[in-house]
């Protein structure tokens, strides 16, 4: 099939690029509506305090103020993605749990008035003892932040497979290390913004988001409005990276204000608010104990991982599990115990992240290198030895159906001359390799599937309706490209109507890496059905066999006798006349074990398929300052098949930045409850001049179920680029790295330790 494709697999221009280079693309902050009001949020100055009362009367008396709300204006409902995580009221009435938490809000005719009104809101607090360190929070006697979470343990994921203790005891080589990593900031370039407009019982919302359907569901619950009256609409999103997957307090705030004022309301967060009060990334402490046999096979793994979850559950069960699963989807081990604890602290809420789990994943990889060295193996050998292959099962019983791990290891090793350089790199230069797998879609109950509707209009142009979401990855362009391939019309003939909850059907959203494997599959199925209709009519009209028909350039034609042809528009019109217009629905639901549950039943098929990747980082360290430079980065990704290679490369390169270079620059810094770097000056998103030379390599394993063989593009590199850096620094210094990010001061310490070891 590969060779016969016209558009899939080509470096096509993204469908959204013209609007984005001309400034015509619309983001939430650009929206303007008649009578629109400006909203401002009053935030908690306390990390932990009882709310004794909130008095909005001063604000309401301010001229120009049209509405003021607090949690007392809601229904007292707490949202949670799971039944057992319903702890987030969005606007609290009992107590505040972190500095920056939304407490009350106003809507006014302009910003200055809104700010003035905020200053007139009186909130009575009774400060409570607070706790900021997850290990302290777990101790007996620590202040309890939510009554239902004993010892502040929000989530405990316990996985026990095989006979871990026995296997560890009989292992030839055993090693235990602890790794830490600071939580990151999503630092999407567009700060969160929302517009809510309530009219005649219908609530319309626009905000950058990765999953309009889950968001609408949450708001429908919180506001007691049926789903078909809460409409989350399509808008461009200036990045998400996992930080926009869930309903945000601002969604509720703007909705309540709009309902009260009966006018549209716009709320735009500042960069600082975006950092403190939207989502943040988990800080992680991972203790990893590994047993290996003499030949380098992993025989036992014992993990204890503590995730600092901040004040609320968020997607807690998922976040506490994912690092383990992406690891087990990559390597073979049959005896394993995983204890993952997500702990509540009085800090901002932590969510899933595209690069989630770096302490755990980079720690595993670097520790493996140290153990391999003792056994006389190099990083390439040990990875090839333990890497999973197609047809195998993971420890928790997911079947791998396509796997290019070996190819990604081999191609990156060859390109970097890895095995030759490894034993004899110059002093303070290092090379490191990181591997990973990732599930393409994971269990989200009935939301795990996607469906698409399409119609061909009487002029032959196509309308494609799907829930697929684009936060910049190029998902919109991807589904248009797929439809274009199957229907034989140019991409520009296709109008995509997407991510609008009142029109589109359920879709996992730009979450769980499902857009290529799940959403595009649904689009493909719908297009194939429509194509069948076209082919049937055309075959009849042209007097040729259906098997002889092809579609290309807006034409239906006979392959054998190409002069026999007709425009697709004619077929469309004929179909209307036959009272059977060309229209189709396609639905795809991945092969997932729906009995699987993150806590109660952590086994069974996790996802329809898994993608694979290997990253190789090369580093050099300044011996006097500890400063690291990364001159070169090589990354190979088994994405199944690249629908648009340019887009996949872009994802790989972005991942090298956001996970790889970030491993030496990025981390949120805290002084107890205060986030010290909620800006882009002291939170170091890598700059152009920090970037290594990147070689992005695409490996195609042609997944049997994926659309055109595709799985997922780019996230896998996000989950291993830091490992490559951690391993390279470990290689360069001879000392196992222990903490990310590897800022010069930390590396300097490692160097001093290294000389101690030597001398």
């Amino acid at each position: 099939m590969k060779d016969t494709m016209n558009i899939v697999g080509k470096r096509v221009v993204r469908s959204d690029s013209l609007a984005k280079v001309t400034g015509r693309a619309r983001y939430t902050a650009d929206l303007k509506m008649p009578n629109m009001l400006v909203a401002k949020v009053l935030r908690s100055p306390h990390p932990h305090a009882k709310i004794l009362g909130i008095d909005l009367s001063g604000a309401l008396k301010t001229p120009g103020v049209k509405a003021a709300v607090s949690g007392f204006d809601g229904f007292g409902i707490k949202w949670g993605v799971f039944r057992y995580t319903q702890d987030h009221a969005m606007l609290p009435t009992d107590k505040v749990r972190y500095i920056g938490e939304d407490v009350a809000a106003v809507a006014a005719v302009d910003e200055e008035t809104a700010l003035e009104a905020l200053s007139r809101i009186r909130v009575d607090y009774d400060p409570l003892p607070a706790v900021f360190d997850p290990l302290e929070a777990m101790r007996e006697g620590a202040p309890i932040i939510h009554e239902q979470y004993k010892n502040n343990i929000n989530i405990h994921v316990h996985i026990d497979v095989g006979e871990m203790d026995r296997a560890m005891e009989s292992a030839f080589l055993v090693r235990e290390d602890t790794f830490k990593a600071a939580g990151e900031a999503y630092a999407m370039m567009e700060p969160y913004a929302v517009v809510a407009s309530y009219e005649n019982g219908f609530l319309d919302l626009w905000m950058p988001n990765a999953g309009p359907h889950v968001r609408a569901k949450a708001l429908s619950n919180l506001l007691k409005i049926p789903l078909n009256r809460v409409r989350v609409r399509h808008i461009n999103s200036g990045g998400a990276f996992g930080g926009r997957s869930e309903v945000a307090p601002g969604d509720l705030v703007a909705s309540l204000l709009s309902i009260k004022a009966e006018r549209p309301v716009k709320l735009v967060l500042s960069r600082e608010e975006n950092a403190t009060s939207s989502r943040q990334v988990h800080d992680i402490i991972a203790t990893i104990k590994t047993g290996m046999s003499k030949d380098g096979a992993i025989v036992a793994k014992d993990f204890r991982v503590v995730y600092d979850g901040g004040a609320y559950s968020s997607t807690g069960p998922i976040a506490t599990s994912i690092p383990f699963y992406v690891y087990e989807e990559c390597y073979r081990f049959s005896n394993v115990r995983y204890n993952g604890y997500r702990v509540i602290t009085n800090k901002g809420i932590r969510g899933m992240y595209g690069c989630h789990g770096r302490a755990f994943l980079a720690g595993n990889e670097a520790q493996m290198d140290m153990m391999a060295k003792e056994l006389g193996m190099d990083p390439v050998e040990i990875r090839l030895k333990n890497g999973l292959t197609s047809g195998e099962m993971t420890a928790t019983k997911s079947r791998i159906t396509s796997c290019g791990l070996k190819e990604t290891i081999e191609v990156t090793a060859a390109k970097t001359d890895f095995q030759k350089r490894w034993p004899k790199t110059p002093k303070l230069e290092g090379i490191g390799m990181g591997c990973i797998a990732i599930m393409c879609g994971f269990p989200m109950g009935f939301r795990s599937g996607s469906s698409c509707y399409l119609k061909i209009n009487d002029d032959g142009y196509v309308t494609l309706v799907t829930g697929v979401v684009d936060n910049g990855q190029g998902n919109e362009s991807m589904v248009i490209q797929a439809a274009s391939e199957i229907l034989g019309v140019p991409m520009e003939d296709i109008n995509l109507v997407n991510a609008d909850t009142e029109i589109t059907n359920l879709d996992p959203g730009a979450y769980s890496q499902a857009a290529a494997f799940v959403s595009t599959n649904a689009v493909k199925i719908a297009c194939e059905k429509a194509r069948k209709q076209i082919v049937a009519i055309a075959a009849e009209k042209l007097g040729v066999a259906e098997t002889d028909i092809a579609l290309k350039n807006r034409l239906v034609y006979s392959v054998e006798k190409p002069e026999k042809k007709m425009p697709i528009s004619w077929v469309a019109r004929e179909a209307f006349a036959r009272a059977d217009p060309i229209a189709a629905t396609g639905t795809f639901f991945p092969n997932i074990d729906l009995e699987r549950e993150w806590l109660s039943r952590p086994w069974g098929q996790m996802a329809g398929t898994f993608s694979y990747a290997t990253s190789v980082a090369e580093v050099a360290i300044d011996p006097e300052t500890g400063k690291i430079t990364i001159p070169r980065f090589t990354a190979a990704h088994d994405c199944g098949r690249a629908i648009n290679p340019m887009a996949v490369e872009g994802q790989i390169e972005g991942s090298v930045q956001q996970a790889g270079v970030a491993a030496i620059t990025e981390g949120n810094l805290w002084d107890g409850c205060h986030l010290l770097n909620p800006d882009l000056l002291d939170y170091k998103v890598p700059l152009a001049c920090d970037m290594p030379e990147i070689e992005a390599i695409i490996v195609e394993s042609d997944d049997p179920v994926g659309p055109f063989g595709a799985k997922e593009g780019g996230i896998a590199i996000r989950m291993n680029a830091y490992s490559a850096v951690g391993c390279a620094v470990t290689h360069a210094t001879g000392v196992l790295f222990k903490e990310l990010p590897l800022t010069p001061d930390k590396v300097f310490e490692m160097l001093e330790k290294g000389t101690e070891v030597e001398g």
Partner: protein
């Protein structure tokens, strides 16, 4: 509906320094001077500054200069941007170290909008320019209605974002002594990335006296509330030849100097910063030696 990040204020655009001085006097502490505005607008956004009057210097054409023709000193007017220093042929030729320092600052846009004097008046101990200019012995020309005084840059800041300027005063220009044929300067800094805010910085000026050190000045930035000079190290070097062992010893003295009392903050930790003072002083002095040798070879 309007989004306005800043509160209301009275806005003035005087055309002469005298006019500006008068406005400054009448508004006293309620007034803020605006040069490029880059720092001022940030502090107004955060509410650190809530001026009733903003007095822009941007229309005072007489402050837009970089002057080095008439006498030996380089005079940088209050409206000269960092970028203009970087681009000035005179500065490139005779004060190359300033060009090199300017390039460490922020981005092209920041250097185009920010002024040198504004950077110095902002009074951060992490200022790249202030560190080198203190080593070079620069002086601030301060004007007020009817009076003018000169303050060595070294004494200009009394704390982070605190200067000796009094009500009604502003800076007209900064003067940088000529390096001549015998003085050599070097600036080195440590930041996470090239255009980043400095964690530790060192500026050095050495006067070559028959192959030995004449006058020496070593300024260290971002290790105390204000930029400091490490005088013990300077004393050690005076009259000495810049041998590797001497440089090493001076660097060690600099690190141990009591004025070097860095704090642990978000950009780095105290212990590491102290270590880096040694490394950077050594690098700056070594660079000076290279420059001396280079000049000799010509």
């Amino acid at each position: 509906m309007f989004f306005r990040a800043l509160r209301h204020f009275e806005f003035f655009e005087p055309k002469t320094v005298a006019e500006a001085n008068e406005l400054l006097l009448s508004y006293g502490h309620q007034a803020s001077v605006m040069a490029g505005g880059l720092s001022l607008i940030q502090t107004m956004k955060t509410g650190e500054k809530k001026p009733e009057a903003v007095i822009s210097l941007q229309k005072i054409d007489s402050l837009k200069f970089i002057d080095s023709d008439n006498d030996q000193d380089l005079k940088i007017g209050a409206l000269a941007t960092i970028r203009s220093i970087e681009k000035s042929r005179e500065v490139q030729k005779h004060w190359a170290v300033l060009v090199q320092t300017a390039r460490c600052i922020g981005s092209v846009e920041v250097r185009r909008m920010g002024t040198v004097v504004g950077n110095l008046c902002d009074g951060t101990p992490a200022s790249d320019l202030a560190t080198i200019l203190i080593a070079m012995g620069a002086k601030m020309r301060v004007t007020s209605s009817g009076a003018e005084r000169e303050v060595p840059l070294e004494n200009f800041c009394v704390g982070p974002h605190q200067t000796v300027l009094e009500e009604g005063e502003m800076v007209r220009e900064v003067r940088v002594p000529s390096l001549g044929d015998h003085s050599f300067a070097s600036y080195v800094n440590l930041a996470r990335t090239k255009p980043d805010i400095t964690k530790v910085s060192v500026g050095v000026l050495v006067k070559n006296q028959n192959g030995a050190c004449g006058d020496v000045r070593i300024a260290v930035g971002a290790v105390a509330p204000v930029i400091v000079r490490v005088r013990k190290a300077e004393e050690l070097l005076r009259g000495e030849k810049l041998k590797a062992s001497t440089i090493e010893e001076a660097a060690r003295l600099a690190q141990e100097d009591v004025v070097v009392r860095p704090i642990t903050d978000i950009r780095s930790n105290a212990g590491y910063r102290k270590e880096m003072v040694r490394v950077l002083v050594e690098r700056a002095l070594t660079d000076v030696v290279d420059k001396m040798n280079g000049a000799h070879a010509h």
